[in-house]
């Protein structure tokens, strides 16, 4: 396996070391790229990958579409009643392309998606949790009774929902998610 260790330590001093570009500078370049371009340039070199992975995408949200429908019914909201996210397809508004996650990456079966924020899906089973389909990362959310004193402005504008008991819960969750996103997600693990 000698070949696989090649050049790891043998970076020759180049006059323009693009792979050593400071993360802030690379970040301001990534700000001008679509999400899919950002993901792709992670394959250029490890240092770009580490910046790309932590870079918040500023591109418009993608539409999540069920993949098990025909092309015509895919776009009909009435086809969504089953909530079967067995495989997943995303439509990007910015480059008008459709992207399909492979089945080994998409691990959701039948579950209930109650909202989304900043690339995270908010899913509800016994316990609510959030899931980033592109990173394949999920975090369990605490149930709402863990927050007896939780107050704040409820951000219903992120998400619309029919008026029922779940509405408040989802709105609280979204607010929580928004807060956690701004806190860099580290908080998530510390919540009992």
């Amino acid at each position: 396996m000698a070949n696989s260790c090649r050049s790891r330590k043998r970076r020759r001093p180049a006059s323009s070391d693009w792979s050593g570009l400071h993360s802030d500078l690379l970040g301001s370049i990534l700000n001008r790229l679509s999400f899919v371009d950002i993901v792709r340039i992670g394959a250029v070199c490890p240092s770009w990958l580490s910046v790309a992975k932590s870079h918040p995408s500023s591109t418009p949200p993608m539409l999540m579409l069920p993949d098990n429908l025909g092309d015509e019914e895919r776009y009909l909201l009435s086809s969504w009643s089953e909530h079967d996210y067995g495989s997943s397809c995303f439509y990007s508004l910015s480059d008008e392309e459709r992207y399909t996650l492979s089945s080994n990456q998409w691990k959701l079966g039948k579950t209930r998606c109650v909202g989304s924020s900043h690339g995270w899906l908010i899913l509800s089973e016994d316990q609510p949790y959030i899931y980033n389909p592109f990173r394949g990362v999920s975090f369990q959310l605490p149930s709402l009774p863990s927050f007896p004193d939780f107050t704040g402005n409820v951000r219903k504008d992120i998400y619309s929902h029919t008026d029922n008991d779940d509405n408040l819960q989802v709105a609280y969750l979204l607010l929580l998610v928004t807060h956690l996103v701004s806190a860099g997600w580290m908080v998530t693990c510390e919540i009992p």
Partner: protein, 161 residues
Amino acid sequence: MASSIENNNEKLTLKSSDGEEFLVEKHVALQSTLLQNMLDSDCSSADVIPLPKIDARTLALVLGYCKKHADASSSKQGELNSFDSEFLKDMDMGALFNLVLAANFMEIKGLLDIAAQKIADTIKDKPHQEVREIFHVENDYTPEEEAAVREENRWAFEGFP
């Protein structure tokens, strides 16, 4: 070489990393937030301001940009836009790299913006192997690591080599 005695209220002298001196009008230098802060805090009382990270070729380009923007009145926005798009047009990647570092160091937001946009436009929609070649990035991945990165994000590489 410009004489450093020429420094007065209206002009200042910048010295590149390779020792070349540039006499610059103050209003041109003010395009750089770094220089503006230095002038405001009177750190520039030295006759010559050294810019040890910027070579003469790059500094000449930067100052050309600053002069154009400092001299143009706000009514000439259209002219500035066409200047900006021509400015980086046929620039090689080595020069662009030095320029973006200089714009960042000297805090020249307009120049940093157009340079970052130029780089982004170069990357956009291209396979990562081609990006690597254009920017002369040495491939630090082992074949196994590169395959793993691709596999993890297979959806983004559909239709790409």
